[in-house]
Structure formats: structure tokens, C-alpha cells
């Protein structure tokens, strides 16, 4: 339990009542919310390096990219076919073969993760 006994509270609320608005029984004052983000992908494993897209790709992991903030540089890229891969993996892939490894359609970037 919080220890601070807030005496000023009653007065401020009296003031609120003076506004004449109908007082609700419960009023939400503050909300500390927690959410989790992940890439909006159909398959959460990159088909090229077989690592979860939320983690850095194999190459980046073994390079031990020591950016101090732990910020992820290894983002995800979506093709027109809606398949997604690590951007690092895909940029190496297209050098050999400009098709999506999953559906063989010509690779065309739809959007990049940020």
C-alpha cells in the first residue's frame, strides 16, 4: 500500500463537484499500460536463415553487433507477395535470384519494417 496520505485530495474533488457535472462512482485517473510489439508477419521465422524475425538474423548475431543501445538494426522486409524476411537475408538473396524464396514470384519490396 502506498504510504503517502494525500490530504489535498478531498479539497480538489470538492472543487470538481462545484462544476456541477454528474459525479461518476468510478473515475479512471491514471493508466500504466504495457503492450508488446512484433513484426506484423504471417510466419514468424525468416525462411532464409531460419531464425525468428524478432531476433537478429544469423549473420548479424554471429557478427555480434555491439550497438550499445541493443537497438535492432536487423529489420524485416515485406514483398508484394506479402512474404517477409530479414532485410539482411533478403538483400543477399536477391543478388543471386530476384524471386521470393517462398512463392517464386518476382521480388518487389512492398514495405520495410521500422
Amino acid at each position: 500500500m502506498d504510504t503517502d496520505n494525500d490530504n489535498s485530495l478531498d479539497r480538489t474533488d470538492d472543487f470538481d463537484n462545484g462544476d456541477g457535472k454528474p459525479e461518476k462512482m468510478f473515475t479512471l485517473k491514471k493508466w500504466n499500460a504495457v503492450a508488446m510489439w512484433s513484426w506484423d508477419v504471417e510466419c514468424d521465422v525468416c525462411a532464409i536463415c531460419r531464425v525468428q524475425v524478432m531476433d537478429a538474423c544469423l549473420r548479424c548475431q554471429s557478427d555480434n553487433k555491439r550497438d550499445v543501445l541493443g537497438k535492432q538494426d536487423c529489420v524485416v522486409v515485406w514483398g508484394e507477395c506479402n512474404h517477409s524476411f530479414h532485410f539482411c537475408c533478403m538483400s543477399l538473396w536477391v543478388k543471386q535470384n530476384n524471386r521470393c524464396p517462398l512463392c517464386q514470384q518476382e521480388w518487389c519490396v512492398q514495405r520495410m519494417g521500422k
Binding site: 500500500m1 502506498d2 504510504t3 503517502d4 496520505n5 494525500d6 490530504n7 485530495l9 478531498d10 474533488d13 459525479e23 461518476k24 462512482m25 468510478f26 473515475t27 479512471l28 485517473k29 491514471k30 493508466w31 500504466n32 499500460a33 504495457v34 503492450a35 508488446m36 510489439w37 512484433s38 513484426w39 506484423d40 525468428q52 524478432m54 531476433d55 555480434n64 555491439r66 543501445l69 541493443g70 537497438k71 535492432q72 529489420v75 524485416v76 515485406w78 514495405r111 520495410m112 519494417g113 521500422k114
Partner: protein
Amino acid sequence: MSLGPKEVNFNEVWGNIRETAKAVITLENVNREVWSNRFSDVYQLCVALPEPLADKLYFETKQFLENHVKNMLLSRVQFDSSKYNGEPHQGNFDLLQAYYDAWTEYSKGIGYINTLYSYLNQQHIKKQKISDTEFVYGSQSPNHQEQMEIGELGLDIWRTYMIQSLGDKLVKQILDGIKADRHGDPSITTQRAQVIHGVIHSFVQVQDYKQRSSLKLYQELFEIPMIIASGEHYRNEASKLFQTCTVSQFMEAIIVLQEEENRRAQRFLHSTSAVKLRKECEEAFVNEKLDFLYSECKDMVSQEKKKDLRNMYIILKPIPDNLKNILIQTFLDHIKNEGIETISILKGDNIHIQFVENMLKVHSKYHDLIVDVFENDPLFLSALDKACSSVINKRINEKQPCRSAELVAKYCDSLLKKAKTTETEIDSKLTASIIIFRYIEDKDIFQKFYSRMLAKRLIHEQSQSMDSEEAMINKLKQACGYEFTNKLHRMFTDISISVDQNNKFNNFLKDNDIDLGINISIKVLQAGAWPLGQAQNTPPLSIPAEFEKSISKFETFYHTSFSGRKLFWLHHLCNGELKLSYLKRIYLVTLQTFQMTILLLFEAAEKFTCKELQDNLQLSSDSFHKHVQSLIESKILLSSSSENFSDETVITLNMEYSNKRTKFRITAISQKETPQEVEHTMTAVDEDRKLYLQAAIVRILKSRKVLKHNALIQEILSQSKVMFTPSISMIKKCIESLIDKQYIERTPNSGDEYSYVA
């Protein structure tokens, strides 16, 4: 006088030279003119016509020197010894002194003679000298009668006539002298010591000119008997001490004696002998009495008699490592026992604090001892490490895993949580805890616990200071590397980013003139980094209208900053502050989103059955009951049945609720670690270990192509050391499962060899 070669009368010139040489060798005064004339006489003889007389001069000079030395021996050194039957202490005759005087005179004189003959030396003798290479490859027969430089010749003559005949007697007297000195005989004065020193060194100087084995004479004639005699003396002393002394007195006596012997060696002996003498001394006092020395070793260690241990260390330091083992092992066992004792008596709620702090006490106590007493000797430091690691990783019960990793993680947690300690104090305690952490074998278990506790601290804002949090992560990174702390770093970063994001979101609201009516703060975590279990498993919730607007605004805002991301709300981790205005006083309550949602329903009606509430919330009955229960326990809600809930149980708002405080928190259920959670952690760790090992095996074989079983095991053990120590059976299982999955295979010709399947 012309310098050109001419005929000379050898006898006449030699007569002159001999006269001068005689004067020189007895250190009489020779005036400069005479000296210069003789100098050119030598030259004249060497270049004489019709043929040089150098060889003749050499021969005559040799004869002259031989006669001189023989004469000296008879008249000055040996003179009385026959009379006194070889007992030099009778009468006034003193062989050592006589020899010393003769030698001092002769060695000086021969030096001058050498200069006098320098033309002969330079032009005649140097030329016939065999070079080093010739000597090594043996192109000259070793018996070749070689002419020596006059100085060398003189020394050689001294050795042949003087030392050959007197050597043994001299050595005996020297040894008597040293013995007397050992017994503190006052007759060995500084002056006497100088005589003895001079005599001993004459054995060296007389062969100093030799390019190789110049110490041979000294060693054979004097050093060997000296070492033998000293050895006898030491053994006598040792057995005398052995009979009368305790170990600790014995050690003190040895140290004093070694000091004295060292000084004695410097006073009398050639510098190369000190080491040999010391060795003999160690042999007699230490190696041969090792059992005796060790007999009280255990007591000294267990009673921590620093002075004795220090002495013991000084004495044992120079001897080979394997002999020191008993001391080291005793020391190790002692630390281990003390360690086990201190951790076995732990009890109460704060075992984790006691565990770490007690272990640290033990560690620092013995670390200090090693610094003080054992000169920071790496052998002892590694014994300390071994002892600590065996205590810390000891399993009290074979079936249960070791709890140390968990305890250390908890200790860090308790430090990093809000408390009244200052940041510096926290920091120094955390630094100390790393000492214990390094000994933990199951570092992966520590990692699991630590990351869960870190997650709780960060989400519930329980950290005392974010700087301390970051500092600790960096300390762990230093100890275990980037991979170990990668996720911890990402968690930490998420929180820092969120602070920034909240500011931006508030600005966004202001700019767009949106009033959400509530004070909102949102943490966005990245999936995969946080140990929150499967996010999908968290119960879904029908979001109350109060939150919906905030959520949708935030999502809009979030998608303008980032793309390709989806958000998933973790309601079980959210909390909020609710103002209750229906009671006599106004209260501000902090509670979880679920509890809030339940309460908010009562805005519309006074009472609900459990079923109605549950339908509204769409929660699983299990978690629904927990949340309702917590509200009933805090007396904000009332239940019609005092025991278990059923669907028909009626829940009403307690209109009479009162609390001394106007601002309070309803603790969410189970923020504490439950036993199931611990067990869950352990199974998760086990799974991770298998994956880790399999990955390691594949990596190793991929780079080595083919590897023997034992080599593979070694490699795996060394790789996994940073994280944990796998059991051999676990490694074998992983190898089997990889063979089944056809990642690797046994090579056809050998049963214990594996190869990588491409």
C-alpha cells in the same frame, strides 16, 4: 736506439730482462727508464736477426717463473708445515695467510710481467693461438703444446706448482674456517674472512683467462667438498632442531639460518655457489624434513596462524610445486569446509542475502590472507577459486538442482529494487556479487531468473535507479559476453525508448487537441526479448470503453512512428489508478486492469452474479476468480457466500468501505515467485540447454568436418563453460538426436568418430 731488427746477444739481454722481471714479480720498485728499456729488450729479442729469439725468450721466462714459484712454495708457504707436522694452528705459522700473501703478491706481479711481455704476447703468441672454431671442430690435436701469453703462463705455473701440491690442505683449512664461522668463532674476523675469500677466489682467478670451463678447478677442488661439508653441517643442525623444536620454532630457525648462509656465501664464495649452497640447505632442512613440517600444517591452517603460514610459505616457496601440494590442498579443504558451514546454517526469508554476503565474507577473508601471507601466489589463488566454486556449486541433494544461481539473482534483485540504500552502496555491492556470480556453473539459470526479475522490476517500475540497472547489465556483459546479456540489454532499451515515446505521445495528443481524460503511460516491449511466456496465452479481455479510446489513439500514434509492427496489449501487466467517489471519503486505488474492469461494471448496476461478471469480462474462470477474490479480500466488494464462488454467487459493492488511507494499492495476486514458476524456469533451462548443445555440436562439426568423440566432448565443454556445465549424458543424448535428425553421422570405419552431413 733503432727499432730495426738486428743481431743481439741473447744471454746478455735475457740477463737484463730476468733481473727486472725478478724485481717486478716481487713488487720491488722498478724505475721507469729500466722498465722502458726492458720493454724494448723484449721487442729486440722477438725481432732479432738472423732469426727471432721469441721461442727462446718464452722458454727462459717459463723456466724463470717455474723456479720463482717453486722457490716461493718452499720458502714462504710450505716452509714451516713440515716442521709442525701439517698442523697449521700450532706455532705462529698460518698456511692460509701465507698462501694468501704469496698469491696477492704473485698475482699482482704476474700482471705487470704480462704487460712487460706485451709485444711477445701480441705478435708472437696470439698468432699461434688456435681460434675458437678450430678448437670446436677439432682441426688441431688437443695435445698440441701451445704457447700461452705470459700472464696466463704465470697463472698456469702457479696452478701446477702451488695449487696442485697445497690444494687439499688449503681446502681443508678453508672448510675449517667456514665451520668456525658457522659456530660463531670470534677468530673469524673481517680480515680473516677476507683471507679466506681471497684464497677461495684464487682458485677462480687462476683460470679466469680460460674461455670455457674456467670454473672447473674451483668447482672440483673446492666447491664439491664445500657442498658436502655444508650438507653434513645442515643435517646435523636439522636433526638437532628436530629434536628440540616445535614446527613453528623449526621454521623460524630455518629462515634465520638460510639468511645467515646467504650472507656467508656472499662473504666467502664465488657468486655461482650461492644457489647450489641454498639448494643443499633446502634439501637438508625442507625436503628431508617435509613430513615433520607438514605434521602441523592442518592445525596452522585451521587456526589461521598467519605467522606460521607465512614462514611455511617462505620455506616452501622455492621447492617444486608438487611438494607444496599438501599445504595448498589443506588450505583448499579448509576454505571449503568453512564455506559449506557458512551456507549450511542459512535460514529465514533472506537466505539470498545471507548466502551472497556470507560467501563474500569467506572469499574476501581468504583472499586477504593470500595477499598477506602467500604473496598473491597464483597457486593459492586458484585453490581459493576451486574451493569457492565447489562450495557454491555444491548440491545439497543430488536430485535437486543447485540453488545458488537463483539466490545470487535474487540478491541482485533485492539490491536493485527500491530501497533506502544509496546508489554508490548498491553499486559496490553489485560489483561484489559478481565475484560470487563468476563461480556459478549454471550461469544460464542465473540468466533466466535475472531476466524474469529484471522484467518485473522494469514493468512495475520497482527499480531504484536505471543507472544501477544498466551498470549491472554491463557488469554481467563483462563477465559473460555479449550473447549472455543481449536480451537484458534489449529489455532495458525498450523501457528507455518507452519513456521517450510517452512524451511524444503526449505531444501528439496536445497537437491534435485530444483529451483522453486520463493520465496515460505506455510501455512497449519487443517480443522475444522479454521472459513473459507466450503472449498469446494471456487471457483476452473485453476492453472497457474507458480504455478503448486511449488504446486506439496510441495505436494510431504508434503506427505513424513505426511501420510493419503490430501491438499486443498485455493487460495482466497493466495497472491504473481509480478514483472511488461513492464512499464517505474519496479514495484513490491502484489496481490491475482486470480488477479495474470488474469495478467499472458496478457503475451500471449494484450487484452481479459471478456468471454475469465473467461473461462481461470474457476471462477464464480461473483468473477471473483470482481477481474477484483479491477485491473481496480487500473488502471493496462483498460476496454472498463466504467460501468458494459458484456461478450464482452474488457480488455487491461494499458501500460502507473505509480505509485510513485515501490512497492505496490492491496488490495484484502473485507478484511473488511461486514454486511452480521456479520449476517452470528449471524445465525451460533444460530445454534451452539441449538446443544450445545441439547448436554447438553442429557448429563444431561443420567447421571440423570429422571429429573423434572425446575431442568433440572436450570442445563442447569448453564452449559451454560460459553458460553452464553440461553432463556427459546430456551431450550424448544431443549427439544421438542429431544423428537421428541426420545433421551428423558416425563415420563408417570408426565407431567413435562423427562427421557433418552437408
